[in-house]
């Protein structure tokens, strides 16, 4: 594999830390919630030292789950707001993405995929759903944690909301993991979320608009259509 391949910086180290903290907290929350969710997982109580401990752990991880966006606000607001802005900006190219994407998903190669933003439409949808779920989970979670501060009806609704958001978020996360690991572009996107940079070739193919901007700003040289022999 050629390590001389041209790469470009995609995520700051703070974005990477925030992403993986969030991921870790999510799974920890998921696991510590299971026994309360269904009897099927009651065997976990003794492992974690009883229901009280499990519920305490759930709350500790809840704090960890809430932290990343807050910390980002101070250490790297630029990335945070760039992400939010992109997530909330939907154009025709984004809609088109979903028309073409199924073919790509099933292994076909889409020639005429409209050029995508820094975040492509799939990533935008994932972000949107993640934010929605997180807002529901955190909002209802606070009510459930401090019931004495809220009216009873709100507490009663907090449970189904927490539940629904939980189901939805698991579905989103499964989709997210699947697409980030099981997709042909996965190595490059994983590299983006671990090392912070991505091959220029990947940027061009998956984030055309961003690539064009980079070229226009002179940050990268235009990728020549490659036609070379075997790499290293």
């Amino acid at each position: 594999m050629s390590n001389r391949q041209q790469t470009v910086k995609r995520f700051s180290k703070w974005v990477i830390i925030a992403h993986w903290t969030n991921a870790l907290a999510f799974f920890a929350l998921y696991i510590t919630a299971l026994p309360l969710y269904t009897d099927f997982f009651s065997w976990m109580y003794p492992i974690f030292g009883g229901p009280e401990n499990l519920r305490l752990l759930h709350r500790i991880f809840a704090v960890l789950f809430v932290l990343p966006p807050i910390v980002m606000m101070f250490v790297d607001p630029k990335s945070l707001f760039h992400w939010l802005k992109q997530t909330l900006t939907w154009r025709k190219e984004d809609i088109m993405f979903f028309v073409k994407f199924p073919k790509e998903f099933f292994g076909g190669h889409v020639k005429d995929m409209p050029k995508q933003d820094f975040f492509n439409a799939g990533e935008k949808l994932n972000s949107l759903l993640t934010i929605t779920c997180a807002a529901m989970l955190i909002g209802s979670g606070i009510v459930m944690w401090m019931p004495h501060l809220f009216p009873v009806v709100l507490i009663q609704w907090a449970y189904p909301i927490h539940n629904i958001a939980f189901g939805l978020s698991v579905a989103v996360v499964v989709g997210h993991i699947y697409l980030s690991l099981g997709h042909p572009g996965s190595k490059a996107s994983m590299q983006g979320m671990t090392k912070g940079d991505v091959p220029v070739k990947y940027a061009k193919e998956h984030h055309g608009k961003w690539y064009d901007e980079l070229v226009a700003k002179g940050e990268i040289k235009e990728e020549k259509p490659v036609k070379k022999g075997k790499g290293a």
Binding site: M1, S2, L36, Y37, T38, D39, S42, Y45, G50, P51, E52, R55, P147, V152, V153, I155, Q156, W157, Y159, P160, N163, I164, F166, G167, V170, A171, V174, I177, Y178, L181, G182, P184, S186, K187, V226, K228, K230, G231
Partner: protein, 272 residues
């Protein structure tokens, strides 16, 4: 088939002696739970973890302007469709062979979901400390003296009631008795009614009330909270089903990834 038993509380006979409260404490070994004096004869605001039943004392002005004390023995209603049973994630709350609602303390994890959903707010968490000094909580409420029922005895409160304001037996018989008594008291209490709310499919502690339920601090139309129904009858079953599917998807995903990734690498190599 199980026989459904019920406790009929005929408030028109109650003289507010509070013997039922004492008998309950006594039989069930419940510690004193004093509350500060709030300017009323009523001893506590409402039932709590250590007062499984208590008398409500309502000062009421009758239609002819007469002042009246309204007494009501209040306790867990033992709902037929009980919100507490519905929301308990541990199946700690359950229906007994008598049609009453009981708590399995070994299963209760003290989450308090029942407390937040009981339409009559009679169930509460009690704090305990174990031998290691660790605190834990368990839901506590009237058990309808299940231990006595199993020995063919009446609930302690019913047993002690000297006015026959509390009677216990086969629910159908109790319902017939309630109707009979209703007819008897109608001239004295024109607003008298039977409180056996349909929103929870009836209750195994039910009332003959002299005045509308709200006068006694009872909800007029209690029902299992809609949120609880949505949560337990829709969201959670769907979620559980999906949990199975997603878990399979993850496992499948990992396996197919192994294959997929290898292919991806090879493909990548060819590309370059």
């Amino acid at each position: 088939m199980t026989t459904i038993f019920a406790k009929l509380v005929d408030v028109t006979r109650c003289d507010g002696c509070r013997a039922c409260m004492v008998a309950c404490k006594n039989w069930n070994d419940l510690p004193a739970a004093p509350e500060e004096f709030k300017g009323s004869y009523q001893s506590h605001d409402k039932c709590n973890a250590f007062n499984w039943n208590m008398l409500t004392f309502t000062e009421h002005e009758a239609e002819d302007g007469r002042f009246e004390w309204l007494f009501r023995h209040s306790a867990c209603m033992h709902c037929t469709d009980a919100a507490c049973v519905k929301v308990c994630p541990e199946d700690a709350l359950h229906y007994t062979e008598f049609g009453t609602v009981n708590t399995n303390y070994d299963k209760c994890v003290g989450c308090g979901y029942c407390v937040q959903n009981c339409p009559f707010s009679v169930i509460e968490l009690a704090k305990y400390t174990d031998e290691n000094g660790k605190e834990y909580e368990k839901a506590q409420k009237c058990t309808m003296c299940i231990d006595r029922l199993r020995e063919d005895m009446m609930p302690a409160c019913v047993n002690i009631c000297h006015m026959d304001a509390l009677v216990f037996g086969d629910k159908e018989e109790m319902e017939a008795m309630a109707l009979e008594r209703l007819a008897q008291v109608k001239d004295r209490y024109p607003n008298a009614n039977i409180y056996n709310p349909i929103g929870v499919d009836g209750t195994q502690t039910f009332y003959l009330l002299a005045e509308p339920p709200s006068v006694y601090g009872l909800p007029e139309n209690p029902k299992v909270p809609t949120s609880a129904t949505i949560w337990k009858d829709y969201a959670q079953p769907l979620g559980k089903a999906m949990l199975g599917v997603t878990t399979m998807a993850v496992i499948g995903g990992f396996i197919s990834n192994k294959l997929f990734n290898k292919q991806g690498q090879e493909g990548g190599d060819h590309d370059e």
